[in-house]
């Protein structure tokens, strides 16, 4: 199983090499993998029928509770089969569609990676592993949407898709972690099988919101749906595979997967129903009002995704059965339709259905397959789509909550979708022949085999619903419900309310279709108006907002003015320290006059006036000389308080400092007063505050001597053990010689820096 999941990645790695060997047969060659995977997954069906589920365990990151365990049950197997099955045809199709393309190998690398990720996603038992694959699908999707990357629009669309799904992905991560904390495990099977009442947990609401944010973005639910039509910038095989059949269903998968655990809370069901219904209607409406064939299909996908979400939300046995059927039906017809759309594009050179017509003569096989798929889309017998739609109506009528509203919405969507199906199947192929940019021929075999097989499968499933039902659908529905489910799939249920609704919607849909051309301007106007206030506008406003906030923040914070940086730094340093001193220790302003000699006062005074003079003088060298005086003052302090070594060092360093300053200064301009009086007073206030805090700190520290200094050790052992009588020097070269070692390296580094700064001039350099 691990191999099954990873094989896609492995194959991806060798694809470029393979491409060189197989040339134009690369699509067919690569398709062997998903084909065999399909067979492999199909071979698991008996096992699932017998045991309900199957667990295959592989270790990965046990420390974090992350493993590569794979959970195979009805639900995951349905998805796995869809992925590998449709994947097989997509690869074949892409081999033809992109034949001769410069980056065909790169395309297949990403495609295979995507397929593997998708398999990993639906098969993972571990929440985190699932998330890993989830994100991989987002990234591969990004790379595929932007496949025509030299086109600005493609890049923008790719970014939009990625940004929306990644945003959702991050909340999903939080949600999954919360779920894991609630369920005390990262293992789906453990969480699903535990009898903990998750909906009573404090994290429940947060977890549901986070997870749904993730699934809604991925599965293009309103209000996050806008990225999906834009994702049609991708080559058609990608749209067919990722953006209709598989990736967008990842969110659906996850909702279905978690339904048994999270479905008990009220929030879950109502959120899914509400957003699902809204998505369904919006998708259907937008599909009907679009002109680009891929947009039509994309919006109808959104409609389907909404429907699926809504069905999970309804959550009855019937609804979940409908869910599974609709899922399978949709994948079969939508994958096929997309491939057709690509073929049309490929042959005619346009995507706009208003610019096609009468193609049935040039492309008869294509036309036939399209009709078959469109019938399924419209939910007409004898295709599997019909069964799904009947179940949909039935389950909504049966819904414990908001039955009427949901049914009305579903019927409205169904009406529009009939129109959409007509648009797709009738508009291009029938009626007058319209001149297209390319003169159309029948699409190559590689591009037709997929749609054909998928449509025929839909037909077979429609005629013999017990085939998929017995094999998988029942157990899949059980997986979603959390308990075994009894299903009764049939093409003919007798005349009942769902059938009446179906017929009604069919008729109304046909009526709409025939008025489509006349409705188009009005629809267009509505869409344009909605675009200004819709969620997509929100997305653009958000992105713009980030840029504006970022620029503003950078202007304010990273303003380039060193003085302001320092000001903030000083304010933070001493504000924080001062506040902590106040709150954690308190302070007292003591000044003990008695313990100082008058001449020590004199030196203190000298230090102070030298410092102040250095700051206030307008003469640079006066300032430097004053620093010299300060140095003498500091040295005197050292000397008077028993630190001769320090005194000497200070004196020498002071002298050398003055020399260095003087050496440098005459290349520099004289002091000028650059700052305004306000700035000076502001800086003065901050500086005085900082100095005050320092004084308070020192005074506080002077009162405290928690422990004796460790120095007595040095004093005692300096002569007997280290053979030196100048204890300071012994510390420097023996007790703490490492400090000194570091220090001479500091000096050397300063020297090297100075050397290069002076000797290596930018203008002399050999530039790259």
């Amino acid at each position: 199983m691990l191999l099954a999941v990873l094989s896609g990645f492995l194959l991806a790695i060798v694809t470029p090499a393979l491409h060189r060997i197989t040339g134009r047969y690369i699509g067919w060659t690569l398709a062997i993998l998903p084909a065999s995977l399909t067979a492999y997954f199909a071979s698991l069906i008996p096992d699932i029928q017998a045991n309900g589920s199957l667990m295959l365990e592989y270790a990965w990151l046990p420390g974090l509770g992350i493993d590569l365990n794979f959970l195979v049950d009805g639900l995951s197997l349905v998805f796995a089969l869809l992925i590998s099955g449709i994947g097989t045809f997509i690869l074949i199709y892409a081999g033809s569609y992109l034949a001769g393309h410069n980056y065909l190998a790169r395309f297949f690398v990403i495609m295979l990676s995507f397929m593997a990720s998708m398999l990993g996603l639906v098969l993972s038992d571990n929440l985190i592993t699932l998330f890993v694959f989830w994100e991989l699908t987002s990234i591969t999707s990004y790379l595929l949407i932007g496949f025509n990357h030299e086109d600005v629009e493609a890049r923008k669309c790719a970014l939009q898709g990625l940004f929306v799904t990644a945003a959702g992905g991050l909340t999903l991560m939080a949600g999954l972690i919360l779920l894991a904390i609630m369920g005390d495990s990262y293992s789906l099977s453990e969480i699903l099988s535990s009898d903990m009442a998750l909906h009573e947990h404090a994290f429940y609401t947060a977890a549901v919101i986070c997870i749904l944010a993730g699934t809604f973005t991925k599965s293009a639910q309103v209000p996050f749906h806008f990225w999906l039509p834009n994702a049609m910038a991708a080559p058609t095989p990608v749209s067919a595979f990722l953006h209709s059949a598989t990736m967008v269903k990842a969110g659906i998968y996850l909702m279905a997967r978690l339904n048994p655990s999270l479905g008990e809370g009220e929030l879950w069901g109502s959120a899914l129903m509400l957003f699902g219904a809204a998505t369904m209607v919006t998708g259907a409406y937008r599909a009907f009002s679009s002109t680009g064939i891929k947009n039509v299909l994309a919006y109808s996908t959104i409609m389907a995704l909404g429907t699926l979400t809504m069905l999970i939300g309804v959550g009855t046995e019937l609804a979940l059965t409908a869910f599974i059927c609709f899922l399978v039906a949709h994948s079969l017809y939508k994958g096929g339709l997309f491939m057709i759309a690509g073929a049309l594009d490929h042959e005619t050179g346009t995507k706009d259905i208003t610019r096609m017509g009468g193609l049935r003569k040039a492309m008869p096989v294509t036309a036939a397959i399209t009709c078959l798929a469109a019938l399924s889309l419209a939910g007409l017998p004898p295709l599997f789509g019909f069964i799904a739609k009947e179940l949909l109506f039935e389950s909504l009528l049966d819904s414990p909550l908001w039955s009427a509203g949901l049914t009305t919405a579903a019927v409205a969507a169904a009406i529009l979708i009939v129109g959409v199906a007509g648009l797709v199947a009738i508009k291009p192929f029938f009626g007058q022949v319209v001149n297209t940019p390319k003169s159309p021929h029948e699409a190559p075999f590689g591009m037709l085999v997929g749609p054909a097989v998928l449509s025929v499968t839909a037909l077979v499933f429609g005629l013999a619903p017990f085939l998929p039902e017995g094999a998988l659908l029942q157990s899949a529905a059980g997986s979603v419900k959390g308990v075994p489910v009894e299903t009764y799939l049939a093409l003919w249920h007798g005349v009942n309310l769902p059938l009446i609704l179906s017929i009604g919607s069919l008729l109304l849909g046909l009526a709409l279709l025939f008025r489509w051309s006349r409705l188009q301007p009005a629809l267009y106007a509505i869409n344009t108006y909605a675009a200004r206030f819709g969620p997509e506008a929100g997305y653009f406003r958000f992105m713009e907002g980030i840029t504006i906030v970022a620029a503003w923040q950078t202007r304010v914070l990273q303003n380039g003015v060193l003085g302001l940086y320092l000001l903030l730094l000083v304010a933070v340093t001493f504000g924080l320290t001062g506040y902590t001193l106040l709150s954690h220790h308190g302070f007292n302003l003591t000044l003990n006059l008695g313990d100082s000699h008058f001449y020590e006062w004199g030196i203190a005074l000298l230090l102070v006036v030298a410092a102040i003079f250095a700051c206030t003088t307008h003469s640079r060298l006066g300032s430097v000389a004053s620093m010299g005086v300060l140095g003498f003052g500091v040295a005197l302090t050292f000397i008077l308080f028993s630190a001769p070594d320090l005194g000497i060092t200070q004196l020498l360093v002071e002298t050398l400092t003055v020399i260095l300053l003087v050496l440098v200064l005459f290349k520099l301009p004289e002091f000028t007063n650059l700052s305004s009086p306000f700035e000076r007073y502001r800086d003065l206030a901050v500086a005085v505050f900082a100095g005050g805090v320092m004084t308070l700190l020192i005074l506080a520290a002077l009162d405290i001597q928690y422990f004796e200094s460790i120095s007595s050790y040095y004093i005692e052992n300096s002569a007997p053990l280290a053979y030196g009588r100048n204890i300071v020097n012994v510390i420097l070269v023996d007790f703490r010689a490492l400090d000194t070692l570091g220090e001479i390296f500091v000096l050397s580094l300063a020297a090297l820096g100075v050397l290069s700064m002076i000797k290596l001039r930018a203008e002399d350099q050999h530039k790259l």
Partner: protein
């Protein structure tokens, strides 16, 4: 303005060796009395700075013989070398080793790794400051 040389030149020739000698004195005495490698190195730099002020950077380079940078490197290597004996005997880094070399009479020359270390410090400090000063001066000339 006019730059005089005579008096400063001559004085520098007398004062500089005095300072140099004093710096060596401070270096060797540092373990027992105020002084040591740093202070010694700083005084020695003072000596060469004086020389450089009197005679210019080029002549100072010629009496230094080695580039200040090489002096620096030598100092660093010296200081590091003083850690080697400890390594050879399997002791922690910078463990001091003392040797007494007998000299004529009743005298011993006390040699130790801390002394070697301090010599390294001396050379490194001298090298550093000469690098500063020489380069700054040369960039003016």
């Amino acid at each position: 303005m006019k730059s005089n040389t005579l008096i400063l030149h001559t004085a520098a020739l007398f004062i500089m060796p005095l300072q140099l000698m004093f710096s060596v004195f401070l270096l060797f005495r540092g373990h027992d009395e105020p002084g040591g490698g740093f202070i010694g190195g700083l005084v020695a730099s003072g000596a060469f700075v004086l020389y450089a002020f009197a005679f210019g950077a080029r002549k100072t380079r010629s009496i230094l013989r080695v580039a200040p940078r090489d002096l620096l490197a030598a100092g660093l290597l010296f200081a590091i070398a003083s850690t080697i004996p400890a390594f050879l005997t399997g002791q922690p880094m910078l463990t001091a080793h003392w040797w007494e070399l007998p000299l004529p009479g009743d005298n011993y020359l006390k040699l130790s790794t801390p002394l070697i270390f301090d010599i390294g410090v001396y050379a490194a400090v001298l090298g550093t400051i000469m690098t500063f000063v020489m380069n700054l001066m040369e960039s003016d000339e």
